[in-house]
Every structure is written in structure tokens, then in C-alpha cells.
Symmetry: C2
Subunit: 198 residues, 2 copies
């Protein structure tokens, strides 16, 4: 017991965060002690507030303080495309490209028998329900190139294709700015497979 | 504006922490959203509680929820020695060695003309007051081997030595387990200067 109890508890709490080890947790706790009383109270409020207000959009399941979310209610977005992703973080990553203008659908994970996650735990039923109206012309699967990702893509496309909806998956290949020499074999194989006429 | 406002604010707050960049802040914020309501509320309480309760010991200025602190009130500690450090974190580091049994004195920084910190901003007056009773036989300066540290050591020893109190500084040299070949010149010079008969 080197730290006085309230400080020890704070360090403990910070250590629970991903990527925060004992040293970082200690640094963060000391940082809190150096903040003003007001700033600490406001930080505490922001924490509770975020947990309180941020829910899943009932249509696309993206994290949002509003339901339906800002993307689903945006009238300028293209109504004919749904981009399917595993996680809300992927929505953010795609939004940052400013390239995609359609809607999203967050699956909440990928099929993973090892982790005991089957298709029924993902929001696939809800995705199919969204295609019912006939306005959806394309479903883009922006899913990681992993075993779990491949399984999920296969499963979803087997359900969506029969509905006559175009189903695509984002391209895998060399990252821009990278060097062919240092690319791993699997990425290079994917890049070859995905080659396009110039 | 990619994140819904309450989430964006939380990410912003986390980014203020030392060593936390945008990606880590995002990961931490998502971690909070995945915590239970109870856990988030308890985290918020622990934050406010730590800030509220942890103060400086009025004798040694170490961070503590009690005043005087657990170390100053421990009757089993040796009353004749004070170990002077720059920061409360240094107290923790020394306590972890389980070697030192005396008292501490936290200066709250080092003399640094560049950062506008003179001796009067440090708790040197308070240190001298503690030596007044005559029980203190040795003052150990556990101060970093930097320019600021050297200046502070010089200043304090010039005040304490005339009082007839033994004044020592912790040793500098090769860290245990390190390799002489890779040590920098300054460290090697210090190690040579500090050589002892075997």
C-alpha cells in the first residue's frame, strides 16, 4: 500500500482501461490530482453523461445520442446503399474518408464460433428487415479481411444476393504509400486477385 | 463531427491526459460505453473522491488522504533521517524499495530559472523548520542528476550543512543489469567519481 487509498482506487480504475498499464495509470491519476476541482467534477459529469446519453440507433445500431441517429435522419444521404460494418468505430473510420454518402448498418461483431458468436447474435435479421422496402440497391460489406470477417461476408451475401440486391465487399490490397517488397504474402495474394485494368 | 456530441466530449477529455493520443482516447471512450451504468457512476465518484480527499501532508507535503500522512504518523519509522525528493511520485518509488525507514520531505519541484521556479517556490523553508528540533541527524537528497537537480542540491546543502546535519545525496552510476559498453559518458563519469573500495 504505497498510495493513499483514494489515490490507489483511482489508479486501479485507470488500469482497467485498454492500453493503460500501471505506470500510465499512475501518471493519469496524478494528472487528475493536479486538475482544478471544477475540471474534475466536469470530467466526472462528462463520463456519466456519455454513458447515459449515447445509445444505439434503432435503425442502423450506430452509437448516437439521438434515435434515429444523425446519419439515418440526414436527408442528403443516398438511400439506396447500406454499408455493413462490424463496429461503430468502423462507421467513424469510413465517415472520415468523406467518400461514402449512403447509410450504415452496425452488426455488433463478426461470426466467431471460437468466441461463441453465431449469426443470431449479430444484427443480421435487422439488416434484412431494412432491405424489405425495395429502396436498397447495394449492400457494401466493409468487413475486416480475417477468418471471422470472411465467414460473416459469406453468410450475409448468401442471404442478401437471392433478394436481387447487389452485394460488394471493399477491396483488399497494398495500403497506399506502402512498399510491395515488405507486404505479406496474403495481402499480395489479395492484391493480385483484386487487380483491375488500368 | 464524426462522433455524437456526448461521446466527442468524452474523447476530448481523455485526450487531455498525458500520453493519451486521439486513438487511445477513442478506445478509452468506447470502453466507457461498454461499462455498466454502475461502473461508470462508480468511476465518476472515484475521480471526484480522489480529487476531494487527497491533499498534501502539512508536515512532509506527500500526497495523502490523512494529515499528517501515514508515513509521518508511523511510529516505527526512524525519526533521525529525512529524505528530500522533488515529487510525491519519488516517495512512492523509494517506498517500493522497502529499504528506507526514515521520513520524507517533498519539495514540489526543483530550482529551475528557465521555468521561473526559484528556491522560495519550493518547500525549503518548511524543511529547515523540521530540522529545528535537533532530532534530524541526516538529510538524504534523492534528487535527479539533472542541472535543476544539481542546483537544488547545492542550494539545500548550503543551508543544511552549517546546521551540523549530515547531508548526503543518492549515488549515480550504472543501473544494475546494464552494460558498461552502452552507458553514456556522463553516467560513466559519475560512476567513476562514485567508486568505492571493494
Amino acid at each position: 500500500m504505497y498510495f493513499t487509498p483514494p489515490l490507489a482506487r483511482l489508479i486501479e480504475e485507470f488500469q482497467k482501461f485498454p492500453g493503460v498499464g500501471p505506470k500510465s495509470a499512475q501518471r493519469m491519476a496524478f494528472f487528475v490530482l493536479n486538475m482544478s476541482d471544477n475540471d474534475v467534477q466536469s470530467l466526472a459529469r462528462v463520463l456519466v453523461d456519455a454513458k447515459d446519453k449515447v445509445k444505439h440507433c434503432s435503425s442502423c445500431f450506430h452509437l448516437s445520442a439521438n434515435d434515429p441517429c444523425e446519419i439515418c435522419t440526414n436527408v442528403r444521404r443516398e438511400k439506396s446503399t447500406i454499408c455493413v460494418v462490424a463496429d461503430s468505430r468502423d462507421v467513424i473510420a469510413l465517415e472520415k474518408t468523406r467518400e461514402y454518402k449512403g447509410f450504415y448498418h452496425v452488426l455488433n461483431g463478426l461470426i466467431s464460433p471460437l468466441e461463441g458468436r453465431g449469426p443470431e447474435q449479430l444484427r443480421i435479421k435487422e439488416l434484412l428487415a431494412r432491405t424489405a422496402g425495395g429502396t436498397i440497391k447495394e449492400i457494401i460489406l466493409a468487413i475486416n479481411p480475417t477468418i471471422e470477417g470472411d465467414a460473416t461476408v459469406l453468410y450475409i451475401s448468401s442471404l442478401v444476393k437471392p433478394l436481387g440486391i447487389k452485394t460488394t465487399r471493399i477491396a483488399f490490397g497494398l495500403p497506399v504509400g506502402s512498399d510491395l517488397e515488405y507486404a505479406d504474402e496474403v495481402t499480395l495474394t489479395r492484391a493480385l486477385e483484386g487487380r483491375r485494368e488500368v
